[in-house]
């Protein structure tokens, strides 16, 4: 294991440069450039606001629906973008994988890194919206740092599993959009976590994203602490997934070039 870490450390510049490449390439030829990063959560926020505060009323506990959903959509978009690009990263770069050796986890990690840059851009809009809606941040806002780290850990875990799986089974590609969609509904983005029936609570919060998204809302908008039991559970689940995902990835690595 330490051997792998040493290799990854040796190739740390590649991780950085490949992340830059992912970002540059994504925006270099698109007309709107960085605006794409903002557009997706903004568009979803608009449609959700129309549907869930006009057509169907969802009780947000007094929070205006646009910021209620946007504070969840920004980190969620980061998560789903990480999955989309990260899982496909190995197969998309097969010409590289079959020709040159480097620690393969760099490709999925760089996808998560590039998605993080998108996230930062759309987070600027979030700050603007918080000012607009007169939300004054309290010291609990600092919780977003550990929450983000937890989310990134989870994204890396899923991406490591998914990317290696996709090499073995090409049809996983079709599962990814479905997975992110189902996962979104299993996470309190459209609705508040409080609307989940108590008897499903434990099952519901086995999904670490549920506690994380709920946590962003509490700490940023309400000045509350996240639900610590829920975050603790999410941490355990994430760590288990992260370790097993990494081991699975490194075990499969030797055959990637043969199968891709």
């Amino acid at each position: 294991m330490f051997k792998h870490w040493a290799k990854l450390y040796q190739y740390r510049d590649l991780l950085w440069l490949w992340t830059l490449r992912e970002i540059q390439v994504r925006y270099k030829q698109s007309l709107l450039g960085v605006a794409w990063a903002v557009l997706q959560p903004l568009a979803l926020m608009t449609i959700f606001t129309i549907v869930f505060s006009r057509f169907v009323r969802i009780d947000t506990g007094g929070i205006p629906y646009p910021i209620f959903s946007y504070v969840a959509l920004v980190p969620w978009t980061f998560f789903s973008t990480s999955l989309n690009f990260g899982i496909a990263s190995l197969v998309n770069n097969m010409n590289l994988v079959t020709k040159i050796y480097f620690p393969r986890e760099i490709l999925p990690l760089a996808s998560v890194g590039a998605a993080f840059v998108d996230f930062l851009v759309s987070a600027v809009i979030l700050v603007g919206m918080m000012l607009l809606y007169g939300v004054t941040p309290t010291w609990t806002s600092l919780w977003i740092v550990p929450l983000l780290m937890l989310q990134i850990g989870l994204a890396i875990a899923v991406v490591l599993f998914g990317a290696a799986f996709l090499v073995f089974f090409r049809d996983v590609r079709f599962v990814v959009p479905l997975l992110t969609q189902v996962w979104m509904y299993a996470t309190p983005i459209i609705y508040p976590a409080s609307s989940v029936p108590p008897r499903f609570r434990t099952l519901y919060f086995l999904n670490p994203m549920a506690g994380i998204i709920d946590g962003y809302r509490r700490t940023l908008l309400l000045g509350e602490l996240p639900m610590l039991d829920v975050i603790g559970l999410g941490l355990v689940v994430t760590l288990v997934l992260l370790i097993s995902g990494y081991v699975f990835f490194k075990r499969s690595e030797p055959v990637f070039a043969d199968l891709i």
Binding site: D13, L14, W16, Q24, V25, V97, K99, F169, D171
Partner: protein
Amino acid sequence: MNNPLIGTIIFDGVSKRYRLGTRGTLRGAVTALMRRERSGDSQRDFWALKDVSFRIEPGDSLGLIGPNGAGKTTTLKLLSNITHPTSGHIVAVGRTSSLIELGAGFHPELTGRENIFLNGAILGLSRREIQRKLDEIIAFSELERFIDTPVKRYSSGMYVRLGFAVAAHVEPDILLVDEVLAVGDSSFRHRCITHMHNLQKKGTTVIFVSHNMHLIRSMCNAALLLIGGQIHVAGPTADVISTYEQWLIESPGTGKRQAAVAGTQGNLILKAVDILQPDTTSSTHLFDSRHPLMMRIRYHAITPQPIGRIDVRILRDDSTLCCTADSSQSGNGALADLAGVGTVELVYSPAQLTSGTYTAIVQITDVSDSVVIASVQSAPFSIHIEGVGQDRGVYVPQVAWRKSSG
């Protein structure tokens, strides 16, 4: 730091199996899983390498030759850690760099400069190392004017030049080269070869895969002939190459010959090679060794065809390669391309061969001099020379005897 083993390569009983067939889908996986349980099914297995063992000392240059599918590229892939052996052990001490695919990881949207950093990092250089060598790399590629242009605007030659420039500056302990010099113009090719020679002088271990025997001869002090995933012969370059050339002749329909067959379906057809006696009209199959011998190669180039070279070999009936003639050594620029229907003639004066039966084989390579695009074989012809014992050896030299008594 100065580990005397750096540059050593050891292959110890290395085998590599590829599984062929339905893979890559969940459905395929289920069937594969069921197959594995009845592990007797080995029909879909393909052994790219079988029990290969060799050792290369630091600073050696090994030419890896053999027909297509012999396992040359697999050997390089194993060495560069891209794939892993099914059984056996591989030791490669030191930093390994490969010229298997130049410019791998280049992104068309990024500029030459950006791609240098990216490609360098893929090859294992740190940003600082690349920064330090940047000017040198750009100068080597001769792309100063285009270095801030996206590489999608590059020609394929420029692409390769940039790729080689980066790869060449990795300063590896072990360098793997796989038929990459087929592209690029001859001056660039020349610089690449000079550069590799310099690396060799610095003590870099080089493994060189090529179908170009001239290159192998000039680059390598030892060679290894792989056939069907196994070592056929290993040893001094010249010996291994001549074994390979004989093998090519003895086993029709494989390797280079296959390429030749494919080539005849292309634009250049070699209709025949006739053996004649110059200045006579009589047709014969019996020639006097002391008289000139002429070969007339009749070709039909459907479209004008630039060529690398025409290679003419004479083989004795026991498959001994007796001599070769290479048009690129002739200094005759007219032989650089062929158009329409015509003939190429060459005269051996005199024939100088010993008594016996011979065949001539003509091969024409493409501009890159790496692929045979057309080939033809003559009808057997006989050489005769008066005198006792003149059927021994390969040729009859013109000798002058002298005696002095002191």
